[in-house]
């Protein structure tokens, strides 16, 4: 039996490494939702996120959309260009500040939103169905803590 002179390496156990587990879970969930709307509506995930924010908060500027979605402002700018082009978002210019845009869902945008939102909620429901009531509360509390600034 050889003595262990050289200290052993200490590889991460990825399967127990929290950042890794979060990444796998998040990608799996987001992608399974995205699969449902990308095909049906020619809607990218970033576009959907922008629409979801505008559904909840009207008359935001592009910068505010970026803040709320935590997306890059360039990504938002491009998503908005496509959404406006497709007639899903109405863009006007802010009174008194010609740099700011004022954004809201169009009728067509709302129509899509009203189909996609329940679908997204259904996925969330399926995911949460794996947990009991106590666990759901725990998860919410834990996420609140981990997401706090």
């Amino acid at each position: 039996m050889t003595s262990d002179a050289v200290p052993a390496h200490a590889p991460l156990e990825l399967e127990n490494f929290l950042p890794y587990r979060l990444s796998i879970l998040s990608n799996t969930v987001s992608q399974s939702i995205a699969e449902e709307y990308t095909g049906r509506f020619e809607l990218s995930m970033t576009e959907w996120r922008v629409m979801a924010v505008l559904a909840r908060f009207a008359d935001l500027s592009a910068r505010e959309v970026a803040e709320r979605t935590r997306m890059d402002k360039v990504a938002v700018s491009r998503a908005l260009a496509r959404l406006v082009e497709a007639g899903r978002v109405d863009r006007s210019i802010h009174d008194g500040d010609k740099r700011r845009s004022v954004l809201k869902l169009s009728e067509a945008g709302w129509a899509i939103h009203d189909e996609v939102a329940p679908l997204a909620r259904e996925h969330e429901r399926e995911l949460l169905a794996r947990l009991d009531v106590a666990e759901r509360e725990q998860l919410n509390r834990i996420l609140d803590k981990l997401l706090a600034p």
Copy 2:
């Protein structure tokens, strides 16, 4: 006061929508770890993931790396090309199956691993420091359930 003839839209409350919260958390965490090694070691996130898997399980094939990292096989192929080129991974050919490659970290690869791994663990520690012991156990149990196939 106008009567509400048209049914109201029901926008998602993104800030309480589980898939969205998971996505924000996962991106924030992964990126803050990545910031530490991308600059210092010219190492992309996908490359690091490949290295982490090869640290834990030697002599995998590219396909097995893809399975374990849950990355696309094309992404793995390219990450491996860069890692082999940089001398961080040794690639040989499987005895008895000339299609398979046999991958392992090189000395240089291990040296980098041994610097990055503690750094990643430290980030995990900082994140978990926001939770008490009970919450950490709860989180683990919950993630086990949500990640089960």
